[in-house]
Symmetry: C2
Subunit: 268 residues, 2 copies
């Protein structure tokens, strides 16, 4: 079983309908908490198990309520509506009775959608993975703060890593190649993690430090092809102590497989 | 009282905590249902009334579950967490016991945020309102289908209305000036309506017809200045029968006051 599947593994509660229990692994920590994308995937797996013939999160929003810690976690799901093409539900992820994450999502079957694609979006231009900057080159302090980096084969575009050398571009853009270090192939659930896997885009604005997510919404638009993903994180508007972070995820076939936006608190 | 305030007026239920009742007005219809932005504002007002010192929706997501009709509507709110700077809650908008809209949102006080703005986003370039195309020039069939247009002083950029003459640009972009016809000034709640006020951006892809919203998320980033708003709707990815529609709303001071994204079903 892959690290990601183990990290989001759930056991259905025998008595309480819609409840699932699992364990948040220490290997998914970042900055003292558990990565927000992993938490979203954890809750999303529970909803997927309840969604019957609609297994994929087409659009999912999570609001982060308190910092998660490694250890047991419970997801309580509630299916709000079962429609012909969509199932909508909510999920509450809690630890020791304290709510960590509240989720609202609509699920569908990406495999059943027709194949038409009219897109003006273009995949980002970046050098091939072997010419990008691997995690092994990240500052030691950063790796120490971000255990989850060991699970990623993440290669950042050299054009967007000036911040690591004290020369942020100030453009608010970080992009790179992503795959799981253990070879697990991407799927719709994993894209929820990938949408929050890159360093905060505020690094590129010259603002190092922790940027806690308030809310993260991901649209999963297609089942990704096996292989590398290209991920672009960008922000255009940092104001009043908050910023938006948009992510686009492209698969190896050049398809835009997910779009996400989060509202986050700017580093102090 | 303005049309918008009347259209989102709520009465607190005397016995049931967190419940509000109101009336969805026939004047907010579009394509046989009530406009999704108005519904979001209707539910958001209820949450605002429950959010105490955090009156503004900083980030709000709504999932549309069934078509709303003019008539009585009930919003049941549930505050999930009251924090120092944010209050998170859910709302259920229903009619005759049938759920129409499920909302998850985090509220704050935009007036209390510090004034720093680092933005690379630029307001859209478009001719002044008097050189744009008013609703009075819209095709009659369109006005008949969209009662709510009478409540808007909406002036579309001539460069993005080719679709009305059978010449869609295929760029997937519609932009224009917005204000309420009755002179009501914009505020954070009204921005939720404005985010869904323009014609579907699929018109500009040469796809006329109804594009039902699955989910709409709005980030309100600042209290808008009085006067005109500039609104840009754009899509980049129509695939498998769904498309995303991003909106940006700029106020008269040139400030990006809201960013939104919806997932919608493409017209057949």
């Amino acid at each position: 079983m892959s690290e990601f599947d183990r990290g989001t593994a759930l056991t259905r509660h025998v008595e309480e309908a819609g409840r699932y229990d699992g364990e948040l692994g220490a290997g998914w920590q970042i900055g003292g908490g558990v990565n927000g994308g992993l938490l979203l995937a954890f809750a999303a797996r529970a909803l997927s198990l309840e969604s019957g013939r609609h297994p994929h999160p087409l659009t999912i929003s999570g609001h982060y309520l308190s910092a998660s810690r490694p250890g047991p976690a419970t997801v309580r799901t509630d299916v709000v509506r079962r429609g012909r093409s969509l199932t909508t539900g909510t999920a509450v992820l809690s630890q020791d009775g304290e709510e960590r994450l509240r989720v609202l999502a609509s699920y569908g079957d990406l495999g059943a959608l027709d194949g038409e694609v009219h897109t003006s979006a273009q995949p980002p231009l970046m050098p091939p993975p072997e010419q990008c900057i691997g995690v092994e080159h990240a500052p030691k302090e950063m790796i120490a703060e971000a255990a989850l980096l060991a699970r990623f084969d993440l290669r950042l575009d050299p054009a967007t890593v000036g911040w690591a050398l004290g020369q942020p571009s100030k453009e608010g853009r970080i992009q790179g190649w992503f795959r799981f270090a253990d070879g697990r192939q991407p799927d719709p659930l994993a894209l929820l993690l990938v949408a929050d896997a890159l360093p905060p885009v505020t690094f590129d604005l010259g603002m190092p430090g922790w940027a806690p997510t308030i809310e993260l919404t991901v649209h999963v638009r297609a089942v990704p092809a096996p292989g590398w993903l290209r991920v672009v994180h960008a922000t255009r508007n940092l104001a009043g102590g908050y910023f938006e972070e948009d992510a686009e995820i492209w698969d190896e076939d050049g398809r835009l497989v997910a779009q996400s936006r989060q509202l986050a608190r700017a580093p102090r």
